[in-house]
């Protein structure tokens, strides 16, 4: 059975899980955001008119 009543330990269990959730979500979001940002920048540079290079 799902047990979400942490009783007298609620003040320790929920911060531990909450902190973990926040940190893991932040790491994932940061990695995904950086990936999008640098890929877009590379594409922009490669698509710039007057340039012939594709790969450095």
């Amino acid at each position: 059975m799902l047990d979400l009543d942490m009783g007298r330990y609620a003040a320790f269990v929920w911060p531990a899980w909450g902190l973990s959730a926040i940190v893991l979500a932040a790491l994932a979001a940061r990695a995904a955001h950086a990936a999008r940002r640098w890929s877009a920048e590379l594409k922009r540079l490669q698509d710039e008119p007057g340039t012939t290079e594709s790969q450095p």
């Binding site: 330990y9 320790f12 531990a16 973990s20 640098w38 920048e41 590379l42």
Partner: protein, 240 residues
């Protein structure tokens, strides 16, 4: 292994792999969380046993990430391979974050169970704190040197030195009398816990491990792309 060391091949090969890892991590996290909150309360620890299902993955994966950082540093230093340097660099932040979570969640368990947030004399707690400081030192060192070649070498040396700390963390509970309990999973007699706790623990360890791989792989790919952008910008600046 060395065939993959070519950045182009690495990007091509890991492209389909990355979303699979993200999806697997998400599924494992949901399943592991479900098992974590359906497991019965421990007869001694009560509900605080559920802190273990985040604390142990954070600590064990945080330790393994340093192994990845150290080995990558070795290849970066000896073979001067840019991909190895990118891998070491990409491991540092998640490693520091996982280790910080291990310290924080351990503290949140220690207060109700030991009666103390922290124990300065405990070899396990201190060696994990040192592990965290190695991560922080590694990132600070990289950030403080502008010349990327110099930063790579200096960081790789520090990364390698930190490997010495890994067996100390792992075996601290055997070598010294620690308040921290000894190993319950990796021991000769087999895991020292019933299946109702072993199941959520192993699923959560797998979830955090796979999530790290997803983050790491994404960050290594990003680092390769970032370096291309930097080199194109530098060449354009010369041409202009």
């Amino acid at each position: 292994m060395f065939g993959l060391a070519n950045p182009d091949r690495f990007l091509r090969f890991t492209r389909p792999l990355t979303p699979v890892l993200w999806a697997a991590a998400a599924v494992l996290l949901v399943v592991g969380t479900w098992f974590s909150f359906t497991a019965p309360e421990d007869y001694q620890q009560g509900d605080t046993v559920r802190i273990m299902f985040v604390h142990v993955p954070a600590a064990s994966v945080g330790l393994m990430i340093y192994g990845a950082l150290g080995v990558s540093s070795f290849f970066a230093l000896v073979f001067r391979h840019p991909l190895a340097d990118a891998a070491a660099r990409a491991a540092a932040l998640p490693g520091a974050a996982f280790t910080a979570l291990a310290l924080a969640t351990g503290s949140l368990w220690g207060k109700p169970m030991w009666g103390a947030w922290w124990a300065w004399g405990d070899a396990r707690l201190m060696s994990v704190l040192i592990l965290f400081l190695f991560y922080i030192g590694y990132m600070a060192l990289r950030a403080s040197i502008d010349d990327e070649a110099k930063a790579t070498r200096a960081a790789a040396v520090l990364g390698l030195v930190g490997l010495i700390n890994l067996p100390i963390v792992k075996f601290s509970v055997d070598w010294w009398n620690t308040l921290h309990q000894p190993a319950s999973l990796l021991r000769a007699e087999g895991p020292a816990m019933p299946a109702v706790y072993l199941t959520p623990l192993l699923i959560m360890m797998a979830a955090w491990g796979v999530l790290f791989l997803a983050i790491w792989l994404t960050a290594i790919r990003t680092e390769i792309v970032r370096r291309r952008v930097v080199s194109i910008r530098a060449r354009r600046a010369l041409e202009a």
